[in-house]
Structure formats: structure tokens, C-alpha cells
């Protein structure tokens, strides 16, 4: 079912593929404004890249919408928590800082939408 073609960072960037920008070309790739980069970004990151002067709300950082049912919010928060908790130990200092900010947002959303622990 899966075709797996070996890539490296060099190839991934050289090919200008429509997948998300790859890892540690790091902050430049993440905050860059190439269309290629934005297409593949999850909603939360898309919000971040286009951040207005006012700080985005924890919900928008986490990609939580008003109509989202509770079970979906819980599921999304769990996915984001797993992602950013690991990235909080990243070798990239920028990613570590970003992860701490996201973890804070995730917890705020959780406390707002669910019973206290």
C-alpha cells in the first residue's frame, strides 16, 4: 500500500515538493513565507505563521474551533500534547521554546473546556 522513497534533507528541499517543510532547516523553514511551506501546515501552525499583531488565543494556537465537539477537542489536545511534549526535548532551542509556549496553550484549553483535574 505504501511506496517509500528514501529522501534526505537535501533532496527534500531540492525537489520543492508539496509536503511540509522539513525539520531543521529549522526556524527559517518554519517561519518562512513560501507557499510550499504553508500548504502542508496543520491548522494551528497556519494560524501561527500568519500571526496578527495581537497574540493568538490558546484555542487558535491549538486549532480548536467553536463548533468542535468535546471528544474532538480532547483528541486534538492529546495529539498536540504528544507532539509538543516530545519537541520540548528537541535539539533545536527554537523548537524547545515554541513547544513550551504550545504546551502552555494546550493546558489552558484543557482547563477551559474540561473539568478541573
Amino acid at each position: 500500500m505504501f511506496k517509500k522513497v528514501l529522501q534526505s534533507l537535501t533532496k527534500a528541499f531540492g525537489a520543492k515538493i508539496t509536503a511540509p517543510p522539513v525539520n531543521r532547516a529549522s526556524s527559517t523553514a518554519r517561519s518562512g513565507d513560501s507557499d510550499t511551506g504553508k500548504k502542508g501546515l496543520p491548522e494551528s501552525d497556519a494560524v501561527k505563521s500568519d500571526a496578527p499583531p495581537k497574540a493568538p488565543s490558546p484555542e487558535s494556537l491549538c486549532g480548536i474551533t467553536v463548533k468542535m465537539p468535546k471528544y474532538e477537542i480532547r483528541k486534538r489536545l492529546a495529539v498536540l500534547y504528544r507532539r509538543y511534549n516530545r519537541a520540548a526535548s528537541s535539539l533545536d532551542a527554537g523548537m524547545r521554546a515554541e513547544s513550551e509556549m504550545m504546551l502552555d496553550a494546550i493546558v489552558k484549553v484543557r482547563e477551559k473546556h474540561f473539568d478541573p483535574i
Partner: protein, 495 residues
């Protein structure tokens, strides 16, 4: 000679234990008479001496004192500069280990080989740095073991439990959650999850903020202007935290020479509200651990508390609410990890551990069913695979006439490459004039110390290349530097 020795190299405290002839572990005190040694190093400006422990923590100039170096063991660029000399995290840790080795060996005999504990979420680099620290101190690392695993071994040994156990280990700097099965002397780890910045140090920082805020309100000035003053406030906050674990309200006076003193009033309710966000994060980590092995809270038979921060009543309350049963203390929550490490030194063969991280490579993946395609992190060894292990994935090359195949080694389970670390690269030269679509086998091996090595084999030419992952950065010593600095470090006066 002490045969089975375990060291808990903690963020705030370090302890050494050995296995006595009767099979029971025991903490060995340092020459200051303390069972646990503060993980603090002071570089004196007048004498050629490195102070480690309480004297370093309580007496020295904070500008020449290194606290909580463990938090930086995974940072390739971190170093501490004192008098123009750069000290890596491994070297600072080696000074702490050296004090224990020298002083404890006077009681239990020579210490040549040790088991050292590390947080479950320590990455490859942090584990490598820990091994380097022991080598610099002149000790061979028999094995690294995850802290919650060590604590669980001690708990199983001292309480004789059987069944599924969740260890909640909240130390000075990190939180580890490990789920394991105990059957007699055999222990099978199912999963471990860890979180940085979720320990006593973070709680202290929150309390310091409360102190500073109350001081500002009363005196209309900042509570501290330099590191020495800040350290004093941290000590006061630590004491208040301990008292709030026993009392409902604490009063304190705090101040500085410039702006005078202020009265601090803290209630347990305020304290618990302050740390609630941190505890929510902790519960989310527990949920992540359970989810990772498809278990529900009701499937856990024993919840075991380890680490000084689990003395906080709210921690127990939160866990009791979540699991529907009260958590149990492993006895001495500060010493359980070191004691378990000494037991592990002898019983390691009876403990089945798992891979704590996923390792993979970057691949352009096309899903024939959904049509989705893109560069993803393709996992070769999945998290929670029993170790030691060796796994292979076969990929194809993308272009004709490739002369070099480059394989990036990733660490992390996220399929999105932005959220994993690139920890190495293998380059393999292949013969000319090959079509696209040649098969390349990527094999990763994972050893008992949770260190990874990688091998790439081009199937058609039979050529292969193998590497152990290495790191570079201002905070990392080369093998040559390790030898040189190790012999210099062993000549230092450390007290």
C-alpha cells in the same frame, strides 16, 4: 570492591547506593554525612578546589556556582564558563560523580563500575553525556537505567507487589511516568513517558514569583536585583513549599538590604491554584502513557509515587481522583531511585526494557489507497519496542544515476518531520548508471543503554555503511578531549 553500585544523578540531589551481602540495597553517605548530595558545584576563586554538595549550594558566590546542570545534558551547545575555562555539562556532572565515588569508596571499597539512572525521556545525546560524565570521573557505566524503572524495582523488592504498576516520578526537574508489569522477580516495562520542566524546580520558580509579587505590592520595589538575592528567595520558597505540604498556611519574611523586608503570606489553597496548570500537564502525560499502551486508569493496579515533589498533597489528590484509588509511596521517595539502581546492577537480566523513542528516516511516502504523499518521518524502530533490538526497513531510491545515497537518522515518533530531531546522517557511495527504484535497506540497532547505531545497505551493489550516532557542539567533548580532560579532572581537588 563494591560490586553492585547504583547512582541517581538527579537534577537537585544525587545519591549512591550499593547492594549489601544480604541482597538489600543501602544508601552510602558522603563525607559530609549526608545521604543525598546536592547536585551543585562551586568553583572557588581563591583555592584550586571544586566544592560539590551542600557547601556549594549554601555558601558560594552564585556567579561561580552551577545548579541543575542535568537540565542541560541534552543541549549540544550548552557550557559554563568560569575564569575563561569552558565546562561542558558532562564535566560538571563528572565533578558531582567524582565526589561520590571518592567519598563513598572509603566506606564500601573501590567503585569501578556503576549503574546510573536517567529520566525516561532523556534523549540519545543526554544519555551519551551521562556516560561521558561517569567516564570522566573514572567509572565504567555497567548500564544506564531509567529512573522510574529503578524506582519500580525498589518498590517491587521492598513491597513484594505483583501486577501492573504505574510509577509517577516527579523529581527536581522532570516528570517521568512508567507503566510496567511485575511478576515475581521479573519486570517488564510497557512504556515510559517523560516531560521536561515539570518538577520541583518549576514549582519553586512559581513560588518565587508569588514572593516577588507580594514584596512588590508591599514595598513597591523588586525583591531581588542579583543572583545571590534570587538564590536566597529560592531557598525561602523551597522551605515554604515543604511547609505547605504539612500546613494550611505559611508566613515568612523576606527582603533585601536596599528596600527592606516584607511579610509573605501563603495559603495551601493559593499554592495549589498556582501549580494547577503544572499538574494538568502531569495528568496529560499520564493519559499519554496509558494511551500509548491502550490501557485505561482502571487497568493499573498500583500507582507508585517517587520523587520529592510527590510529597505535595495536591499531587496525591489529583492522582487519586484520576485513578480512583490512592497512590502509594515507595517509602523514601528521594532515595528509591538510587536504591533501585543498585538492585538493577544485579538484576538487570530480569528487567525487560523498551525503546523510549522512535527512530526513523525521511522518506517520500505515497499511500496508494488514499493518494496522500509527501516527505514524512518513516519509523524504523518504534517507541516501546523491547530492547536490545535491531529493525530493518527497505526503501527505494528516487532518481536514476545517483552516486550518493544520504540517509538522515531521525529521533521522535511524529510523522511530521518538523517535530523530530535529526541526529545523524549516513552517506553511501554507490556505483554509477543505476536506474531509480533501487532497493536500500536501512537497519537501526538499539542497545541496552538506549544508544542507537545505523546501517545502510544498497541491495544491488551489496555496499554498506554503518555509524554510531555522534554529536557536535560547544557542549560536547570529542573522544580525544574526553580522555585528556578525564585525566585532568581526576587530579582535581573535589570536596
Amino acid at each position: 570492591m563494591a560490586e553492585y553500585v547504583g547512582i541517581d544523578l538527579g537534577t537537585t540531589l544525587t545519591g549512591l547506593a550499593w547492594l549489601k551481602a544480604d541482597g538489600n540495597p543501602e544508601i552510602v553517605p558522603n563525607a559530609d554525612g549526608e545521604r543525598l548530595t546536592p547536585s551543585v558545584v562551586y568553583f572557588d576563586s581563591h583555592e584550586e578546589v571544586k566544592l560539590v554538595g551542600s557547601a556549594a549550594r549554601d555558601g558560594g558566590d552564585p556567579e561561580r556556582t552551577v545548579y541543575q546542570i542535568k537540565r542541560h545534558m541534552d543541549d549540544p551547545e550548552h557550557f559554563v564558563e568560569i575564569d575563561g575555562r569552558k565546562w561542558t555539562p558532562s564535566e560538571i556532572s563528572a565533578l558531582i560523580l567524582s565526589k561520590l565515588q571518592r567519598e563513598c569508596s572509603r566506606i564500601i571499597g573501590d567503585i569501578d563500575e556503576v549503574v546510573i539512572t536517567v529520566p525516561a525521556n532523556f534523549n540519545e545525546l543526554a544519555r551519551k553525556s551521562t556516560i561521558a560524565a561517569a567516564e570522566l570521573a573514572g567509572m565504567k557505566v555497567r548500564r544506564l537505567v531509567n529512573e522510574p524503572t529503578a524506582a519500580a524495582i525498589y518498590y517491587a523488592h521492598s513491597h513484594g507487589v505483583t501486577g501492573r504498576v504505574l510509577v509517577f516520578d516527579m523529581g527536581g526537574g522532570t516528570l517521568d511516568v512508567t507503566i510496567l508489569e511485575v511478576e515475581g522477580d521479573n519486570i517488564r516495562i510497557l512504556t515510559s513517558e517523560g516531560a521536561r520542566h515539570l518538577g520541583g524546580g518549576n514549582i519553586d520558580d512559581m513560588l518565587v514569583e508569588i514572593y516577588a509579587e507580594q514584596y512588590r505590592k508591599q514595598v513597591n520595589a523588586g525583591l531581588f536585583t542579583d543572583e545571590r538575592q534570587r538564590r536566597r528567595v529560592i531557598h525561602a520558597a523551597e522551605d515554604a513549599k515543604k511547609m505547605l505540604s504539612k500546613l494550611q498556611r505559611v508566613n515568612d519574611t523576606i527582603g533585601n538590604d536596599t528596600d527592606g523586608i516584607a511579610r509573605i503570606d501563603l495559603s495551601r489553597e493559593h499554592f495549589e491554584k498556582t501549580i494547577s496548570r503544572l499538574l494538568t500537564r502531569a495528568i496529560m502525560l499520564v493519559e499519554q502513557a496509558l494511551d500509548g499502551v491502550s490501557l485505561q486508569p482502571k487497568d493499573i493496579e498500583h500507582v507508585v509515587l517517587v520523587g520529592g515533589s510527590t510529597r505535595i498533597p495536591k499531587v496525591k489528590t489529583v492522582l487519586e481522583k484520576f485513578f480512583g484509588k490512592p497512590p502509594k509511596s515507595c517509602g523514601n521517595v528521594d532515595e528509591a531511585v538510587a536504591l533501585g539502581a543498585a538492585l538493577f546492577a544485579k538484576k538487570s537480566a530480569r528487567v525487560q526494557e523498551v525503546c523510549n523513542q522512535s527512530y526513523g528516516t525521511l522518506a517520500y511516502i505515497v499511500n496508494a489507497r488514499t493518494g496522500e504523499e509527501g516527505v514524512r518521518n518513516s519509523i524504523v524502530i518504534a517507541k516501546n519496542t523491547p530492547i536490545p533490538c535491531s529493525m530493518t526497513q527497505v526503501y527505494t531510491t528516487s532518481e536514476p544515476n545517483e552516486r550518493r545515497i544520504e540517509v538522515d537518522i531521525t529521533q521522535g515518533e511524529d510523522s511530521d518531520p518538523r517535530y523530530v530531531d535529526l541526529i545523524g546522517r549516513i552517506t553511501l557511495e554507490v556505483p554509477p548508471n543505476r536506474p531509480a527504484g533501487c532497493e536500500v535497506a536501512v537497519t537501526y540497532s538499539y542497545d541496552e543503554n538506549q544508544r542507537v547505531s545505523a546501517r545502510v545497505k544498497d541491495k544491488s551493489s551489496g555496499r554498506s555503511e554503518e555509524i554510531a550516532v555522534t554529536y557536535k557542539g560547544a557542549g560536547i567533548l570529542s573522544d580525544e578531549e574526553l580522555l585528556k580532560r578525564g585525566s585532568a579532572l581526576r587530579q582535581l581537588r573535589i570536596e
